[in-house]
Subunit: 347 residues, 2 copies
């Protein structure tokens, strides 16, 4: 008999059960409707079926700095597998030490977002993967240079052929992005205490954390930060009630830049709050390093409430329970360059 | 009975054995005197005993960009485990996109070098590890900032305590360097075809490669590039016979900058030729990308000879047999930062 059923029966049968236990169970039942646990294995991608070869190739590409013009910047530079899938920078630093416009979102569990980038301008991770290589302030290369680089290395020629056997010309910008998406889809962080809780084990969260969860749902945080990823589910103004000060918004009009629609001004995709305690700084501007402060700002700007110290502490305690088991990745041995490989271009 | 003994006996007993076989065996015997195979396990370090905890901690530190002021540059940036332990750059790029003065030597098998850096200014890897963090054009931090950064993270506090239980203050610049050295000592590339050959299997090298090896010893290359690491054994002028053009020397006076002794002008530690085919570009200046060209330059500058096309091809073919099995490393999950962690410093 599952623990969840046991607890439900306890509430039903034992009239003398303290009210708080049933109330706790109500919290769990409500939470189970709003959130879903992170699975241990990636979801099926309808337009990009995962294969072992594709995931392995994607891993090589993800860690390969030669995808950038300088030969210095890889996907992992800004979405570091060792540090929560982010770079712990206000905004990322790219080609020529240029500072990017927005904080790097985590790659972990990103497969569950409805779209990618803060403004959702990429439909999926495959489309997202095509962005940074071409951005002048990020990897500063071109699809042509990138493909020429990969084609110059027999190790990649072989790996692409094996991964895309049906393709006459296996190395393209598109197959590169497909492979990267496939690898990224495997970057999941299951088994957080909150996942265990969602699976029916109420002991996985201590009292303060459960109270934080309750507040998180009751105050409305979960309206934008629900679902499997606790965010990444839709677009919302920053802020709904009160616009945060300009230092925090950094004058960034968000999704308006994508759609040109007035009502999209200062609208952003709600970020995932999974692993949020280990991925500061916060917001698209990366201007806030303290999770407590970020929670307080969300309270006032999105919900129009002033959270008490105690409430903030509880919500922060709850958010820390979303830190899952981080992916264990074997660092790839990358193909050797040849004399045909384009030389690093630093300027 | 060992294969080596069998072959020796063959030469002794079988009078009708073709001369070439005995000559090949002579090549092997000579090679076995000059070189040694890369072992599968690291050597014992007299002043820094390896422990599992120390190697694991060292791996975390090696991959941790927060050891730099910017939070962007780790040991692995310039000594990339995925690309032969180097960055495939002419000279490395560091803090603020500044270009370093010399080509990054490979970290693989570096434990076998008599000293570290091109000019041997660091006695060992532990001392070497203290250099780049402090160099303004590399990681641009200070021992104080680095130690404060590590001490701000409970994950590191725990790992250092476990690794250095006898230390009252486990996190120091010195223990950091010790741990990095311990990890680096494990970065070996055994089982290259040449290692198999040195262990007595003459079939590990094809005829052209064996001829290359023979030339490599006969022409004098092995005088500076002998030993287990095929280099890293002593200091030699660049060049012994004829100074290469200034584009290649880049006006770098080498060891003279360390000793101030006139005879050390343009003197460098001979680099290891292990894995040389996968670690271009070549020389301290990184000005030469072609291994063939590098071999030809060495012939003229160090040996005063003009190698024929065929000889160069053979030596290059031989050098390719020194590419060993690359280390397989699990990318470390790094400790989470706290609000006490110094913020990235980009300028």
């Amino acid at each position: 008999m599952k623990k969840k059923t046991v607890i439900a029966l306890s509430c039903l049968l034992l009239a003398f059960t303290p009210v708080v236990l049933c109330a706790e169970d109500d919290v769990m039942a409500k939470a189970q409707k709003i959130f879903k646990p992170i699975p241990k294995t990636p979801p099926a991608l309808s337009n990009n079926p995962l294969t072992t070869a594709k995931v392995n190739l994607g891993k090589m590409l993800y860690f390969d700095p030669r995808l950038s013009a300088s030969g210095l910047i890889s996907c992992n530079t800004c979405h570091n597998i060792g540090t929560g899938g982010v770079d712990l920078q206000e905004t990322s630093v790219g080609h020529g030490w240029q500072k990017g416009g927005r904080n790097a979102p985590t790659v972990f569990n990103a497969i569950f977002n409805i779209a990618q980038f803060w403004d959702g301008r990429a439909l999926d991770l495959k489309e997202q993967a095509k962005g940074p290589p071409q951005a002048a302030i990020e990897m500063n290369t071109t699809p042509e240079r990138l493909v020429a680089t990969l084609k110059s290395m027999p190790g990649y020629v072989e790996a692409f052929k094996e991964t895309f056997p049906q393709e006459e010309d296996p190395i393209t910008f598109d197959t590169t992005a497909q492979a990267i998406e496939a690898f990224e889809a495997t970057l999941l962080t299951p088994d957080a205490p909150f996942d265990t809780y969602l699976q029916g084990d109420s002991t996985a969260l201590v009292k303060q954390e459960q109270e934080g969860l309750k507040l998180f749902m009751k105050k409305g945080c979960s309206s934008c930060h629900g679902g499997i990823n606790m965010g990444g589910t839709g677009y919302f103004p920053f802020g709904v009630v009160e616009k945060p000060n300009s230092e925090i918004t950094a004058g960034d009009t968000g999704r308006f830049k994508v759609t040109g629609v007035k009502s999209d001004e200062y609208v952003f995709k709600s970020p995932s709050l999974r692993n949020i305690a280990i991925t500061p700084p916060y917001f698209h501007s990366g201007k806030v390093w303290s999770l407590r402060e970020a929670v307080a700002i969300m309270g006032s700007s999105q919900l129009g409430i002033s959270l008490t110290q105690d409430q903030t502490d509880k919500i922060v305690a709850f958010l820390k329970t979303t830190t899952g088991v981080q992916p264990r990745i074997e660092y790839p041995v990358l193909p050797a360059i040849t004399e045909a490989t384009p030389k690093p271009k630093l300027d």
